[in-house]
Symmetry: D2
């Protein structure tokens, strides 16, 4: 960390700050500049926050130098983490496609979708059973019955499954059914939930919060990993910005950046990122072109009858078309086994 | 709701849309315009979402006319809701001040603070026992021990208490101690938690999410109210914007707007809104000037030693100074019992 | 436009509003709903703003139905606009690549770059001569001398040129040199400048403002077109959001959306969108995958010595690598002459 | 500035960076930390940008320590700048109120308004003659005729005037009429315009851009001051955020912060900040409570007939009511001549 002193800081202030730094077990390096004095802190101190120093008299600001996440960082593990789910490898040499309806609505609906998306090239089946909805009056999902349908449909089509868990007390139940536990965007900083999924040994698909910085997103992954579960899949799903013409703004730069900062695999959800079926295909293509290692896509056999998010669901036919494009794109950006551009020293 | 058809929508599209509207139990009113045909929907249909129509062929967009919240709306209840806690009335003729440390750290710390803020004019004691922290390596609060200290300190100083609950399974425990249950910004859309606090009969202080719209905030209140708990106190605590010079951006316009849209009381948290103790006082003054019916302020007897959020905590002395200003301001903006400006037909 | 009345609106209010609508030359259609009365306005009235009605007593809000832009809209012209510059066709069947340094610094620098980017596949040479800089103390460009170097280097390498104009009074001068006039993000709503470039017959590359909505961006294009210049190239260059890990956030959804809403060609600037050379390649790939019809890329023969924006400039070698990927991607998303996904009725 | 090296930076990288630092005329101080090496730069170097170093091999990031503005900073001038306009002193011990219509529409309109706002307590008359409008089809102002009306109405009521200038070539003309030159939010980074108004000796009212950081805003002031015109009045007018329930979000924290960072006076425009007349009064009160040294308010004798921005204009009666409240608030937050809270060492 670097501490910048105020212009009017006194020698007494400086000494008090130095004392405080030493009490934290760190070594201060004072640099007297032309306009300001700054102090560099040397030592190994996990979780030390700038706020510890920012309230002290004479301090203008404290600037962290190191990222606050450890386990999620490439500093801790240089090689890409690969997560095996059924026959799919998330984080491996090829993108993995997860598809299915926003919500499981009936046995027929999920079974039809499972076969359709499998045939189009998806390898994991998604479907919501516990739905977090903005309105208490909206359809809230089928609950455990939905999980049963999902898993059976997955089995019938030969696909592992992913579904969202919203309550720490449901983690055990959901774990008994699905292969990947999804933590939704609204729960990205539901720390009780993060700890609970961290105590399972199921892979966790962690969506980025609507207004979460990349750093906060990786800190949320850190919560899961700090409990001993290292199988975290990061999922960019669009952030909230001033632009309301689309539901959210897909942050392709963050996808590319996280590939550099972290060893964890990164996938994207173009359905929530855009909120409009006619924009899902270009957004999905863009995500893969930016380095996403998979997609999570809402597909519904009859979007016009969907009980939730119909306007952003693809038909199986549209999904198949998208698969044609993204498969090509993945090859274009990754012509050799080595992924080149997130290793900035490689070019 | 208003449905706008695409320019190229056919007569067949129109008929299908009309059928769908009727199947929803609503009456369509078709208006053929120069450039577009629009359909007005008439009827009483709680929770109907634009997405139901936006996926249909021929539909360009569906525009909701009515706010989706019901119980929280002034349409449902014209008069201000007043919530009694101890001898304080939140939503009454005078603002109510809640103050205390970010986290309860020790018996001495909370007792000292309780007496100091009471003396300065606060009527409710705040203090965190279960802390949601961005980093798993930061101090996470004293848990139940913290609640005990808080409540005893409140009793010693003659003040009711407010503290945050982060896990649905903790609601019962926290309810046994404190007088107001706080739902934090990160949990504003933790629907399981909202339902759980909705099943208590304790007042709920509901913070606005970092990037929650006013509508989403009121929908979160609706979740609590839909369970039968009508005692919701809304708390504006700053939103996340592009500006990083302050921790968040206090949205004073939202305070004034919510006073119009809802009968629920609105308070503000200038500490989290700014993140810097030297900005807390002006932000607190601004909130009250905008119509806030109370403040929630972090006060620490020794901010430089605080285990969390020290840089945004006021000293008891600074808090006392702020109380002097805000008491005057409250009288300036509200010279008579009648609050005039959030009743736009009154001026 | 749709006008929504307040719950407490009286018959007198309604009549006054109807009178006002008729005085505007429009026909009111009143729909009495269960909770609110709404009025649909029918007629052809360009430029009528919701504000005209929102101040009237009894009005809750006025909701525009039609986009406010006319000439830029697909409603006005269904076919893609193609703009010929030299041998390149912007908006045609293949993306067009424009590359060069942020600022023209010397004759050698621009000549070297011109040959290098030409060889790598660029067809238009970019370079700034009048630089808008956040600080008055930063390098402000070579002015007319920079334009001379740019155009001569372009001629030497066989490439037309694009450069920014920042002052209405410079439009004539810059027009004498370059083939495309660039209007920068900070000037997107500099209406005097828009009108001035609208009076030339040079193609205009119009960057999206940092916080401009898609609608405002198209309205800026409308300013140029309203002066009679229909050759507008839209350029997405990243928007400002809460995320500061990247310089801006490339809005790929907006690229795909604008392809639907407007007939004007859309290109992207991955350099400003990310601000980091190691993210430019994935961002450029993402833009093309989302439907961008070209890229504007900063390339510098020696980025470490660049007088401006060095940290986001590619080396010629890196640019060549990017060209390899984007050429493939363009074929993947656009396998046939017909561009399919921005025509939502085509799938 | 602080330069942070990459984990994998070599000794050669370090030496090259040190060479570069020395060539810039600065002295490097190397601190070898546990996880990273950082280099502190010492010396006086105005306008040096982090980008100069961020592109170098081995550099992870460069963090500026000093604010990039000089003349606008409290470091350069500790005492508040006071600007006299007629008998008003902007930046003095009492707030200054500027009021009038969005646009000058006719002689009667501006004369009526002038008398009304003067009587209510305003001391400067505002009115637009050159209007920057989002749509080319909206009313664009009366031009020079509008300036004539404005100034004559001001003279009749005994008030100096402020009006916006949008084109560098109009600066001379507008200067001949009004007492304060306004630079609008959309032109905050129109550097040609900033330089031009910097060459006059008229006070400049500089609105904050829709998405301008506090630092960029002060850098825009720096452009004016670098030309020798030190009379800059900063005007916070709401920023663009994700929240669309209000037109913009008034950033009261920025008002308080700029009072600390700069000696220039800060005023607020609650009309554009909210966009709704029923929210203008609370927003104006909040701005003054946060430390604003004046307000710029849209007042129209008949808002319902206004040619622009009618929905956010106050009636003279509403303005008078607001003046009653803000006068009281100004006394509450500033009980003694000394303004206490923006001097953080004073409390």
């Amino acid at each position: 960390m670097i501490i910048v002193l105020q212009k009017e800081a006194t020698e007494k202030h400086l000494q008090d700050i130095i004392d405080r730094i030493r009490r934290c077990g760190l070594e201060p390096h004072v640099i007297v500049g032309v306009a300001r004095t700054v102090i560099g802190l040397v030592g190994d101190k996990q979780g030390l926050e700038p706020q510890v120093f920012e309230g002290l008299p004479g301090v203008e600001k404290a600037v962290p130098i190191m990222a606050p996440y450890k386990l999620a960082s490439r500093d801790a593990k240089a090689e890409d983490t690969m997560i095996e789910v059924g026959s799919a490898v998330i984080g491996g040499s090829e993108p993995v496609y997860m598809a299915g309806p926003c919500a499981v609505e009936s046995w027929e609906q999920i079974l039809d979708t499972a076969h359709a998306v499998k045939e189009a090239g998806a390898s994991i089946l998604r479907g919501g059973a516990f739905k977090p909805r903005t309105s208490p009056y909206s359809f809230q999902g089928l609950g455990e019955k939905g999980l049963q349908y999902l898993v059976e449909a997955g089995r019938a089509a030969g696909m592992p499954t992913v579904s969202e868990v919203v309550n720490p007390s449901d983690v055990e139940l959901v774990s008994q059914y699905v292969d990947i536990l999804q933590v939704g965007a609204r729960n990205m900083q539901n720390f009780a939930l993060l700890r609970q999924v961290g105590q399972t040994r199921k892979p966790v698909l962690l969506k980025r919060g609507l207004s979460a910085t990349v750093e906060e997103w990786l800190m949320a992954a850190e919560y899961v990993m700090a409990e001993g579960n290292y199988q975290v899949i990061l999922c960019e799903r669009g952030i909230r910005t001033f632009e309301t013409a689309t539901r959210n703004t897909l942050d392709v730069g963050a996808i590319a950046l996280v590939r550099q900062l972290s060893h964890l695999p990164v996938v994207a959800d173009p359905s929530h990122a855009t909120g409009r079926s006619d924009l899902v295909v270009p957004a999905g293509c863009a995500a893969v072109a930016a380095g996403a290692q998979g997609l999570l896509v809402e597909v519904h056999p009859n979007p016009q009858r969907a009980l939730s998010d119909g306007s952003q669901s693809l038909t199986p036919e549209q999904f198949k078309q998208m698969m044609g494009a993204v498969t090509q794109i993945a090859k274009s950006v990754n012509p050799e086994p080595a992924r080149y551009w997130w290793n900035r020293n490689a070019v």
